[in-house]
Subunit: 364 residues, 2 copies
């Protein structure tokens, strides 16, 4: 259990009780998660919420329901911490739905979307992660390589050796902080490949063993757990290299890892890895590797639109290499998938990665 989270929840409750005892209506102060309060922090190199705050009042017809809901979520989370049990935000929703269920005819929550937004409010207000409140989130993503993890879970201490996981690898859990510790780590760098299929290809080639790296796949967009793990590995001074599709989705996955994304900006620096480098696939690769030219795909509207948007983001357009790449997309209207690297021969992808890393041929 996270002691910090517990203390913060207690402090929040005490403050409200104090307000009531002083004869005031209880209040709850949180940080605005609006677009206008989202800033790119040059110093940290990531998106984060700004300083604009909002005070919610219980004694307000417009806010009473939301206020009560927020307090109910805080109370439930504290109960989970005390019980030392975890559940999903769906599980939390049902517990909340049940709370008022017996006697009162009105539901405290009718849709899960209501409770989801309030969990985010609590996270920014208390400066904690929902994982610290014993709330599990979707997990996805795998790792293999020279690292051992101590997993203190359900009363057991389990040492997991990520170099002995066979074809499956180790599934990155929802929470890689509480009750979990990196024990041994003897890797030279981290390679993140967008797709599980390519991860399996490289795992079969024992790429991580030959190159002494950690082989990670987020399996598409990164979960919170995967982003936290990458942050922790970057904190241990490991370079983080990413290999994604050269299309709207691949770029989005990369930039979410690197700086966070607009709608997840509230997560801030604990979930961002500004040190990340983009190995490929790039538009320039199409020229450099002859065989790739036949394997490009026509860019879709979404790819073109995304490239245009990205050129407008100040945290992207300050990199000349990215501007050049994105303009090439707009000019050629082509895109290319990482799977195409297998077109000529299955094992080429490893050679490609080595060439890129050794030659420092990456994008910011």
């Amino acid at each position: 259990m996270s002691d910090a989270a517990n203390s913060k929840l207690q402090a929040m409750g005490k403050q409200m009780v104090n307000e009531v005892q002083r004869g005031e209506g209880p209040t709850f102060e949180t940080v605005l998660r609006t677009k206008s309060n989202t800033i790119f922090d040059e110093g940290m190199g990531c998106l984060r919420t700004g300083e604009k705050k909002e005070t919610r009042k219980f004694l307000s017809v417009a806010q009473a329901r939301t206020f009560m809901q927020t307090v109910a979520i805080a109370a439930k989370s504290r109960q989970f911490l005390k019980e030392n049990l975890h559940t999903s935000i769906r599980g939390l929703f049902y517990q909340l739905k049940f709370t008022l269920g017996e006697d009162i005819d009105e539901d405290l929550f009718t849709e899960q979307s209501e409770s989801n937004a309030l969990i985010e409010d609590l996270e920014v207000a208390l400066k904690i992660k929902r994982e610290d409140l014993n709330l599990t989130t979707d997990r996805k993503g795998f790792v293999a390589g020279p690292m051992t993890i101590m997993d203190k879970f359900g009363g057991d201490d389990t040492l997991i050796d990520l170099s002995k996981q066979g074809r499956s690898g180790w599934s990155i859990p929802s929470d890689v902080d509480n009750g979990m510790e990196i024990k041994e780590l003897d890797a030279d760098y981290v390679l993140v490949v967008e797709k599980d299929a390519l991860w399996q290809r490289l795992n079969e080639d024992k790429f991580w063993k030959k190159e002494n790296c950690l082989l990670v796949t987020p399996k598409g967009q990164s979960t919170r757990g995967t982003r936290r793990l990458l942050r922790k590995l970057a904190d241990k001074k490991l370079p983080i290299y990413c290999l994604m599709d050269c299309d709207a989705w691949g770029w989005y996955i990369y930039w979410t890892i690197k700086t966070g994304s607009m709608n997840l900006a509230y997560l801030g620096k604990d979930f961002a890895v500004p040190e990340s480098k983009f190995l490929g696939v790039t538009m320039s690769d199409i020229k450099e590797f002859d065989f790739l030219d036949k394997l490009t795909i026509k860019a879709k509207d979404v790819d073109v639109k995304r490239a245009e948007e990205m050129l407008g983001y100040p945290w992207i357009n300050r990199y000349a290499d990215w501007v050049r790449e994105l303009k090439m997309v707009l000019k050629t209207r082509k895109k290319i998938e990482q799977d195409a690297l297998q077109g000529q021969r299955l094992t080429f992808v490893g050679e490609y990665i080595n060439k890129k890393i050794k030659g420092k041929e990456w994008l910011s």
Copy 2:
């Protein structure tokens, strides 16, 4: 590498060469995967393709392209088997796209959907699984419990103990047959829960340890790998109990495990587990457990339509218990999720499962 697959591919090639040497045009015989050739096999208790066959001819304007594509896929698969390397069907697509790439202006394949359908043709024609052709498929799903697996992969022999995987469990791979063996197995039954969140809840409670079972989640619809693993466990005489949402999707997931589904019927008995039992969540539960009544959701059109369809399937409507349940859905227009079992208290779900199993309170 699968020797059987290799022999079958060779035989297919030799037959075509013989036809050519006899002065005939080469042919390829496969089994029709149409709805009219899909039958429910009472003896096996699952859906399968019938006996109707189709012969494809190279010397036919309408079929020449498809014929050539089929032969190209067979040749590529044999190459992968010889190289002892695996790839995804997307990787195969790019290799095929590249094959004619150098000299000929026309692509052998323009869309992956073309190659996907032909892989299925090969599977039914040669009576093999695509996994035997070194083609990997999407993986999803986890297991924890008293079982060890020997994974011979990429030249290493790795013994994996599924009781020592901490919060993550063991990720069920794409292929659980080739180079993989169940070594020790000391479980009394298999529990399959639809959602990963509930799996994590039960894993935290060490449900599999207390009850000496294997705890599986397909994480939604089952992958081929998960279905094959369940089939193998059923072959070892372990009862297979399933806990799904009481809605269109949950029922579909269950029946796909049990009998296969209409569009995957060609997979047949190797991927079906007719022995499976449906523990819940059931419409009857809403009456039996008072607290659940407040936690139901209004059934959507898709749920109602699905219930009506299922009542029309002869392999479902022969079970009086399912007919009763589905009629209750049509009458009450309610549904309920497995997450709702946590509404009263997080640990209730384990008690619920035990009550169901001990009282043999399941649906066919």
